[in-house]
Symmetry: C2
Subunit: 356 residues, 2 copies
Amino acid sequence: MSKRHADRRTTLADVAARAGTSRATASRALAGDQRISEATRRAVRDAAEALEYIPNVAARGLRARRTRTLGFLLPDLGDPVHGQVAAGFELEAAGSGYTVIMVAARNVLANERRALRVFVERSTDGICIVSCILDPSEARDRAGPSPLVVVQPDHPRLASRPLRLDGVIRSDDASGVRQAVDHLLATGYRDIAYLGMGRTGSNTVRRATAQRVLWEAAGIRLRAFQVGADAWRAPSLLGEALGSTLPEAVICYDDKLALALLDGLRERGARVPDDTAVVGFDGIPFAAIARPRLTTVMTPATEMGRRAARTLVDAIVTGRMAPAMTLPVELVVRESTARATASGRPMADLVASDGR
Amino acid sequence: MSKRHADRRTTLADVAARAGTSRATASRALAGDQRISEATRRAVRDAAEALEYIPNVAARGLRARRTRTLGFLLPDLGDPVHGQVAAGFELEAAGSGYTVIMVAARNVLANERRALRVFVERSTDGICIVSCILDPSEARDRAGPSPLVVVQPDHPRLASRPLRLDGVIRSDDASGVRQAVDHLLATGYRDIAYLGMGRTGSNTVRRATAQRVLWEAAGIRLRAFQVGADAWRAPSLLGEALGSTLPEAVICYDDKLALALLDGLRERGARVPDDTAVVGFDGIPFAAIARPRLTTVMTPATEMGRRAARTLVDAIVTGRMAPAMTLPVELVVRESTARATASGRPMADLVASDGR
DNA sequence: TTGTAAGCGTTATCAT
DNA sequence: ATGATAACGCTTACAA
């Protein structure tokens, strides 16, 4: 029954032989070429079926000069946010008939460069890099002929210049921070802090925006704290990171950090939001069911992944890369910033309208 | 400076020409063949450097009959557990010089089959499938000549037969459940329930084990509840899933479900662990900082991914697949099953010793 | 409508 | 130690 005796895999030549045609005709028939007669098409299809023919796409790509493969570079597959982006990307790519090579570079520059080289070696038709610290223009250089989409660039120096390059997809972090600050001010908080994590461009942008907005809106100076990229793994230390006198409210770099801070504050004996309000960033699923439920800026992670793939495929087909796009974010107000809530009683999620 | 004028990518022939050798010699020099003289090796290396030569691995694979590519199939890239497995796999694979193609099949049989076909088309050197509902032996058939590693098989019928196939890697779920039940009994809980999710083999195994262990150890019948695979997304419904009279303790299928249940119970006005104790499964990071902190069975997700890649690479090199292995798990006791804890005061994590 | 033949960029075999 | 030359499995001019 099983034909494991033939060591060689079935090839197009085998199919052609069985169908009684040339390899060229078999190739055309399988590709759905209109010039092939219905009869031979059937014959070829049947032969392919009978032989369980599976094409060798490497050979095809070699000749046809396209591989229907996309390269995807991200910092960490285990991260909840990047995992979502990856999921969205893969889904959309697979839907368009593309296969995805994934490389995790864990924020190491050398790894990011190596990954791009891998993609070029594999002749990817397109490349997407997510939250990379590599300079986007260097990335473009190293991407070779492949169209490149840059999602949430995190190059440290990127905070200063605007970056209007084509193919850049990012969330409107500035708007998110503004919404958060406005919400905190409206709720009555005055002593507001920002807790940063890592040395990425996005961290700098968020801190700077909070600083500026708070000053412009209320003439208040932001208190800024900063911890290392792995600080969220040690919640108990985090409780101390805010100093001896807690601020009334803290905006955290992301949800991982905010949730860890929640734990750290609890360990320290501080109540949230009564002693300190906490705001996160990203909107990961667990933020919604933490205790207290976390107020956070929702970022369209899955959607960004999908868009990235879509944009890439379009660029491959049309030969033109879409201009930079910035996706909207929205603040979701939950318990962690609700000043006088009846403890233990949940309140419905409130989405702040941006007013733009 | 940049040489974007030549449309064609640099090829080995270019390097050979510049170095003044044949393509064969250039190939050998670059591959580090010992027979090549030091002088020509230098010449070729320099030429490759100068031309920024990047080999075409598709062409190489076509001729050499190995692609240094691994296929990785999983249900969902966004899931915290599978994301960890993927991260471990990619890390180990990259470390061994392999590139990974990832496909998410979201528990759809047809997608899983399609993914295996993709891998065969791409001539992967090895394939790893994680938590697939596909029958492992069918998977082996469809994997073609590639060695196959099966991580945490989730075929529904798999719960009954032992499955001693080579290349299977899984965690010792039965031991985990036993530890959980023993712990609950030792802590004084008698009315114990299992809350299942989905129709996978692992769910069946966990439920059945809990049932058996509880009966054998204490002559108590397990109360069993069951919800759909997406139930964890709706915590408020989950609170009601346990019926009107809450059990003293609930073992949940996984941490996602347990954390959602925590939220659902809070919404319902029930206190954990005072009204009901909760145990999770997997040991995802957020379980450790939930409130109450979640008692859970720690599964070595990252390690399983690493092992899978390691096993695959070994099989590729040696031609022999390692026998099935079962990785140990350990119960981590936290607040959600601590009967009379001073509320708000954290207790140190306790790892139960298995006693085997 | 179909076949012939020339590549695509490598590596492996066989000479030298 | 190196060079011709033939694959690898497929697509695509160019012929017929």
